[in-house]
């Protein structure tokens, strides 16, 4: 096993975040899903950009629409759904493409890894086969070439004894190893964008560290953009360059990580940060956000967070559309009372 060494730790990140071309540009993305004879808006008005070499975090509680957003980017939503807005990958609009055209993009220009690596691998085929398959389909390589490439990829993602392990089945692998396989698969055709949907949620902390470091390493080496979905602000703090906070199907705040952690502008972001266990601050009590995330058919009007927000005011927060406003360049937030709130200590009941 490769240790959790982070070789890229010394590379100045600024060079990566700026100046590189935009890989993914999501604008005003909306997703409705048909449930019980009704269209329910799950996600709407989502804007996101990912540049080459950059890691963008998408963070939010369960049910906030992170997975749906990522699937919309991949155009992998279930058939009972419809998408609005625009998803441009390397400048090319994906929304209008046919399935055949998408198949030439998925796995080639963008790859994705999922939360439960074991379930996401086909139990009936060897891991090598599943990686080589991608290569064969997209690169037209013959069987043995593709296999060699798979082994090479396994070495890249740090699977020891790669040639032998390539002919093992997923159930013979641990969760962390499976996630490495998934990563190898996603990287098989050297995509420019990698979407990782809670890639480490099911893994042990030590393994999580390895996988996250690995993603970072590969990203540096290949210069790809990463959209990292997580519910864990710790992960965001560790590996992301920028992060977007999602609540009830909308992005409520988006900022470079430093700024997000130092000066959150939206009460929800602040609440989440306060709810992170902190051994210094939380000697007595931990910060809490009252209430719970509403289900999509129950999204309130106005600010969707207002029923839980200690600062909510009528009618400022309860009516109309609240736009995403700029705080500083690159930092936006969707709060009606943006700027006039003292967020520190608001969540210690």
């Amino acid at each position: 096993m490769t240790g959790p060494v982070s070789t890229a730790a010394n590379t100045p990140p600024t060079a990566l975040t700026t100046g590189r071309e935009t890989v993914l540009e999501v604008a005003d993305l909306g997703v409705d899903i048909h449930v019980d004879r009704d269209w329910v808006g799950i996600v709407d008005g989502v804007d996101l950009t990912v540049r080459a070499g950059e890691t963008v975090g998408l963070v939010g509680e369960s049910g906030s629409g992170k997975t749906v957003t990522s699937l919309a980017v991949m155009q992998l939503l279930p058939p009972n759904s419809r998408v609005r807005g625009s998803v441009r990958l390397g400048g090319r609009e994906l929304i209008s493409l046919s399935e055949g055209e998408l198949n030439r993009i998925r796995g080639v220009e963008m790859g994705m890894i999922f939360q439960e690596p074991r379930r996401s691998l086909n139990p009936a085929f060897t891991v090598g086969d599943q990686v080589a398959e991608s290569v064969r389909r997209h690169r037209g390589a013959d069987r043995s070439k593709a296999w060699d490439r798979a082994v090479e990829l396994f070495e890249l993602v740090g699977i020891p004894d790669a040639r032998r392990r390539a002919s093992a089945y997923p159930h013979e692998f641990s969760g962390g190893m499976c996630q490495r396989v998934m990563l190898a698969m996603a990287l098989a055709c050297e995509p420019s964008l990698l979407i990782a949907d809670e890639p480490t949620t099911a893994l042990d902390v030590t393994v999580q560290r390895q996988v996250l470091s690995l993603i970072g390493e590969v990203q540096q080496r290949l210069g790809i953009g990463v959209l990292l979905i997580t519910h864990d602000l710790g992960v965001v703090a560790e590996v992301c360059d920028r992060a977007a906070v999602m609540y009830a199907g909308r992005i409520v705040e988006q900022a470079p990580v430093m700024e997000l952690f130092d000066a959150p502008q939206h009460p929800y972001t602040a609440g989440l940060l306060h709810a992170m266990p902190d051994h210094v601050r939380h000697v007595e009590r931990m910060g809490v956000i009252p209430g719970r995330v509403p289900p999509p058919h129950d999204f309130p009007a106005g600010c969707r967070f207002h029923p839980r927000c200690p600062f909510a005011q009528e009618p400022t927060c309860t009516e109309g559309e609240i736009p995403l406003r700029d705080v500083t360049p690159g930092h936006t937030a969707r709060c009606a009372r943006l700027g006039d709130l003292e967020l520190e200590d608001a969540f210690y009941g």
Partner: protein
Amino acid sequence: MLRFVATRLLTVVPLLLLLTLVVFGLVQIAPGDPAAIIAGPEASPEAVEQIRADLGLDRPVWEQYLSYIGNAVQGDLGTSYTTNEPVTEVIGRALPRTVTIAVFAMLLAVAISLPLGVLAALRRNRLTDRLVTGAAVVALAVPPFVLAALLVNYLALGGLQLFPPTGYEPLSEGFDEWFRFAVLPAIAIATISLAELTRQARGSLIDAMEEDYVRTARAKGLGRWWIVGKHAAKNAAVPYVTVLGLNVGRVVGAAVIVEAIFNIQGFGQLGVDAVLSRDLPTMQGVVLVSGVIVLLVNLAVDISYGYFNPRVRAG
């Protein structure tokens, strides 16, 4: 894999033993004196006694059981009370008829259910799907004997007379001849299995298509047919093959009635006759052999899991 097959083979042994016990027990609960049956209606009590002794029926039950098993292992299932032939011979005569028809029926069921099921799964909730699943549900409700009666009435008698209404010709008489006789019984026997397999093919394919790994495959940019044919199919095969195995028993069961209607002196008919005439050794033999066949088929199914699903190979 070899080890896997070997362990699977071994698990069948206790099942076989239990099977013989069930079969033997079945005969023990049967009232009536086998010796009197063999002796015939007009025999004297001494004659009956003599026969009882000859058959060893005066020995304790467990002794009879042990010798039954001992003989069965050597391929001796006793002697038919009615024809005085070795039961193995009687079964050997009847079995091929049923087996050829049953195999035909299963092939029919598989050959039709696979494309239909796949089609329905891929056109889920659309017209094709509704037609296929609707037809399957209805077909599932038609008992083989009703279907057989209809087939006889409309295709064999009536104006059409396409196929002979009764009888059987072995394959050795030529495929055409065999086919003419086998086709109607095979359809009657196959239909329920066909319907169930269609539903299963559809259901397991749909299930497989909803698995996470299919999403992964789509994320890799693989084409729909590739995903269906490779990723979903191999996983969907497990429940399908399971149901296929379970249907072997059903097909043999259906043969019981269908053979009576078509007057095929097959395995089912043999069983019914043996039961009706209290030909206990034959009855035992029929139940035993059919049980063994089904067990072996299920064993094959089990072993096939090893191919379709590498996880089970680990044991």
